[in-house]
């Protein structure tokens, strides 16, 4: 496992930006009170959700007598269950995320921390589950804005390394976490076995999936030429090549096709997809997420 030392990212300026995002988020959500997020479960809440026909044994107190007076039908009033939303943040901790200066892992951590803060500010339960060739660690679901420092510490301690195995990692995650919720996968998706099965796992197990693909535009520039041995940083597989401008252009095209394929898959399967180049500040991405809605309702 390749170890990459992460540098402190969560300084005062970062906190200020998070505060700003939180303010924006509250505005977006319309100034709702405590426990802003509503789950779609029917339960014992106070908010009317729906009607259904009365069946023997149902609680009489739920009968909507107004409807009965008008329509002569016995219908029960259904209310939304107020319960906590679980926000699972899954940052990729594989070796490919540790490449470059600064590495993509720094950007992924910032995004993770920002989303965690928004979630904690909205009284969601936030859990951080980094993965590489499997689930590496887990920050148990926590709630409350004050817990953000736990998130910071957790992310600071994390070290990149290992191969990217999306399917195995997300399958483990699904089995380990029974409570469904939002699953945000923050990764470069550099898995030779593909990403489709992994994302489908989340969908099939009723996780509301979001995909944030972290990328580094410098990987496309590739300033090397001539006789080279290319070594995969995760698998250590070697490829001998004599590189020229034409080959580099082909690599760029292949990379674009790869990103496009991921985006198309997400679009097809109604998975919100966001491309997060490290050259773009993390708060811009988060704001974009707010504008698109979805992650925050």
């Amino acid at each position: 496992m390749v170890q990459t030392v992460s540098t402190p990212l969560f300084d005062d300026s970062f906190m200020k930006r998070l505060e700003l995002l939180a303010v924006v988020a509250r505005k977006v959500l319309g100034g709702m009170g405590r426990a802003e997020r509503r789950s779609r479960r029917i339960g014992q809440g106070v908010e009317f959700a729906d009607h259904r026909d009365y069946a023997p044994g149902d609680d009489f107190r739920l009968i909507d007598w107004n409807i009965y007076g008008r329509l002569g039908r016995l219908l029960l009033r259904l209310y939304e269950e107020e319960e906590d939303v679980f926000l699972y943040l899954l940052p990729d901790l594989s070796s490919s995320m540790g490449q470059g200066r600064p590495p993509k892992w720094d950007h992924a951590r910032q995004i993770t921390a920002a989303l965690a803060y928004i979630g904690l500010s909205g009284l969601d339960r936030v859990s951080v589950v980094p993965f590489a060739d499997g689930v590496i660690d887990r920050l148990p679901p926590t709630r409350g804005r004050g817990q953000i420092f736990k998130v910071f510490d957790f992310l600071q301690r994390a070290r990149t390394g290992g191969e990217t195995r999306l399917r195995e990692s997300l399958r483990s995650f699904v089995h380990q976490n029974k409570r469904r919720g939002l699953a945000v996968v923050i990764s470069d998706f550099y898995d030779g076995r593909g990403f489709e099965d992994a994302l489908n796992y989340l969908r099939y197990h009723r996780f509301e999936t979001f995909v944030i693909q972290v990328c580094d535009r410098r990987e496309l520039e590739f300033g090397h030429h001539g006789d080279l041995t290319l070594v995969d940083c995760e698998t250590q597989e070697q490829v001998h090549v004599t590189l020229n401008a034409r080959l580099v252009e082909r690599y760029r095209q292949a990379h674009r096709r790869f990103a496009l394929r991921l985006e198309e898959f997400c679009t097809t399967h109604q998975i919100p997809y966001y491309l997060a180049p490290i050259q773009t500040p993390f708060d811009e991405l988060v704001l974009k997420v707010f504008r698109d809605g979805g992650l925050l309702r």
Binding site: S96, Q99, G100, D188, Y190, G192, E219, H224, G226, D227, L228, T229, L230, V231, D232, C233, E234, T235, E237, V239, H240, V241, T242, N244, L247, R250, Y251, A254, H255, F258
Partner: protein
């Protein structure tokens, strides 16, 4: 074009080609280590590379092309090193010997830029006319014949050597120069000797290859000459290229041919000057002769010279104002002297050395007076007792008046009637009123001394020993005796007070002659050195080496053997010999002049100019002047080969950078 290697043999060329090919192949086969680059996602690269159309044959061909280019460059480099040339060039090239006159007359200014500048221009022109097959050699001819550039095809070697030529202050040794040239061309076909000179050679000087074919010239300077055609292909052609004024032009010169000085033996405060000046002007000329002593004008002498006049003058009683004398001719504005080298002459007055003389005796005013006449005598009076008690007397000369010499004291001495008990000569008696019957007038001790009718009251009678010289004698015995050796001694067998010798002028003269004899102070003419000759200068015997400083400041170490140094002086002026470390001030000065009437006659010989003109007008001479222009650029083939190799290297670099051959 058929080319043959000239710098290497075919075997060497083959060996170099084989070695170069092996090196190129080995370097090509050595696999270079690839750079390792970590990439985040290898499968993308696999996808990219898997799409390439790989044609193994094309890739192989491109790699072989790179090897072929490198091998071709190696072949071209070896070819260039072999210096290939057409075989025809080897056979038809000339061997040219350029003899450029750098004698003193070439410093004349009667042609624009000077004669030497004209000679250099002729020489450069001859070099520019060389074709690639020609070889040329350059020699400078003055008092020495110096080969400056050996046979070469490269004009770039000849040009700077020609530009660096300078005129010396010596006459040209043409016979030796021509012998040298003939020797250099022995066995070489198409040899040619080109004499570039102002033709101011001495009348009657014969040159090998130049023959007289007629009677004397009208001006009497030499006979009509012709350049002798070569008897065979192996005998070189001789051509004369004048680098001076035309016949009858230029040559105006007034020369100082001799400039010598000597001190007066008695009056050392004045000196006598000998001067010889000659004019080659065709009209009367006036000028002035300035004598400078140590840089200060001491004398100013106007001169008027008729055409061809040679003036001898003696200038007596000139006060001594310095040791280094410079004679300089100064001309009015309307007179142009074309040869400035002989307008100055240099001379040195002998050094004056004070003599420490001890006068030992009871007192003798006549002796004291005689000694005080010489300003260079530092007199110390001692009584016999003082002399006896002196711990270690160090005097240049000890004059003992009626006093016995100390046997422990060496050095020159004059004994006047020493007492018998201390006399170096045994006294056998006395001579009463001796009459002078013999005088050795030719001896240096009696130079300018007259002893006629000398009256002497009494004298000791001594017998001279073997090796003694009797300078004057009476019938009974010697009156004046001289003994040389480590302690040279002059003996008066009589008391001078008891004679009339002190009343004569001969007495002080005799003492001075004795001092001169003891220390060899030369009162004769002190001649200067002539440039172009070998100067043999005496130095202290213990010296192994001296430093010679020429007038222009150049220094050279010279070996000294047995108290003498040989110097080949080529420049006029004051030369200095350092006999020890410079700060100690042990040095000797020499004055050198041209002093050569033949070299000062800078008029070119009409016979030589005629011979040159006839040769130039002849068909062979015209052909030599016109046919040597190269029909094509001089660039040798190896330069073209090298340029092609460089172009291929550029092409190979370009294709490598563009990944065409990789």
């Amino acid at each position: 074009m058929n080319l043959v290697p000239t710098a290497l043999t075919w075997t060497q060329v083959g060996g170099l080609l084989a070695a170069a090919g092996l090196v190129v192949t080995l370097l090509y086969l050595v696999k270079t280590r690839r750079r390792r680059v970590r990439v985040p996602f290898g499968p993308l690269w696999t996808e990219v590379l898997g799409r390439r159309e790989v044609s193994s044959l094309w890739r192989l061909l491109k790699q072989v092309l790179s090897w072929l280019l490198a091998a071709l460059v190696a072949v071209l480099l070896v070819s260039a090193a072999a210096d290939p040339r057409p075989p025809r060039e080897q056979e038809e090239g000339r061997s040219l010997v350029l003899l450029v006159d750098t004698s003193a007359s070439m410093a004349a200014t009667d042609v624009p830029g000077g004669r030497l500048a004209l000679a250099k221009a002729h020489a450069l022109q001859a070099v520019e006319r060389l074709v690639p097959a020609d070889r040329a050699m350059l020699l400078s001819v003055d008092g020495q014949v110096v080969p400056l550039v050996s046979f070469t095809r490269d004009p770039a070697l000849l040009r700077p050597a020609i530009q660096a030529l300078q005129a010396s202050a010596t006459a040209a040794d043409w016979p030796r120069a021509l012998r040298f040239a003939h020797t250099a061309l022995r066995g070489r076909p198409h040899g040619e000797i080109l004499l570039i000179t102002d033709a101011a050679l001495p009348p009657g000087m014969e040159l090998p290859g130049l023959v007289a074919d007629g009677g004397p010239m009208p001006d009497g300077r030499g006979a009509s000459l012709n350049l002798q055609p070569p008897a065979s292909d192996l005998q070189p052609v001789i051509r004369l290229l004048p680098a001076g004024p035309a016949a009858g032009e230029g040559g105006d010169n007034v020369a100082i041919l001799a400039f010598n000085v000597r001190r007066y033996p008695v009056d050392r405060t004045s000196y006598e000057l000998f001067l010889r000046v000659k004019s080659t002007f065709a009209r009367p000329v006036r000028c002035e002769l300035n004598i400078l002593a140590d840089g200060v004008l001491a004398e100013h002498i106007p001169l008027t010279l008729q055409p061809g006049e040679e003036l001898h003058r003696v200038f007596p009683d000139l006060p001594v104002l310095g040791r280094k004398l410079l004679a300089r001719l100064v001309f009015p504005e309307d007179v142009v002297d074309f040869f400035p080298t002989d307008d100055e002459a240099y001379a040195l007055l002998p050094e004056q050395q004070k003599l420490k003389v001890a006068l030992v005796g009871p007192g003798n005013l006549f002796l004291e007076a005689a000694l005080l006449l010489d300003a260079q005598v530092e007199l110390t009076r001692l009584s016999p007792e003082q002399y006896r008690d002196l711990p270690s007397p160090r005097f240049d000369v000890t004059l003992l008046d009626r006093t016995a010499p100390r046997p422990d004291v060496a050095g020159p001495r004059i004994l006047i009637a020493p007492p018998p008990e201390g006399s170096p000569w045994p006294v056998e008696g006395s001579m009463d009123r001796p009459e002078l019957t013999f005088v050795r007038r030719d001896h240096p001790l009696l130079r300018w001394v007259t002893l006629n009718d000398l009256n002497i009251d009494e004298a000791w009678r001594v017998t001279p020993a073997a090796g003694d010289t009797v300078l004057a004698a009476a019938r009974q015995g010697p009156l004046l005796l001289y003994r040389g050796g480590a302690s040279p001694t002059l003996l008066f067998t009589f008391d001078v007070v008891r004679s009339d010798l002190p009343l004569r002028a001969a007495f002080p003269m005799l003492l001075l002659d004795a001092f001169e004899e003891f220390f060899h102070h030369d009162a004769e003419l002190l001649a200067t050195y002539r440039t172009g000759e070998t100067w043999h200068v005496s130095v202290p015997e213990e010296l192994q080496e001296v430093v010679w400083v020429a007038p222009d400041g150049t220094r050279q170490r010279l070996p000294a053997q047995r108290g003498a140094v040989a110097i080949g002086g080529r420049s006029t002026g004051f030369h200095r010999l350092l006999l020890g470390p410079e700060e100690q001030g042990q040095e000797r000065w020499l004055a050198a002049n041209l002093a050569d009437p033949r070299e000062s006659d800078i008029r070119p010989r009409p016979d030589l100019l005629q011979a040159a003109a006839r040769d130039a007008a002849s068909p062979a001479g015209r052909g030599a002047a016109e046919s040597t222009r190269p029909a094509r650029p001089r660039r040798p083939p190896w330069m073209t080969v090298l340029a092609v190799a460089f172009a291929i290297l550029l092409l190979e670099w370009f294709t490598y950078q563009r990944r065409v051959t990789v």
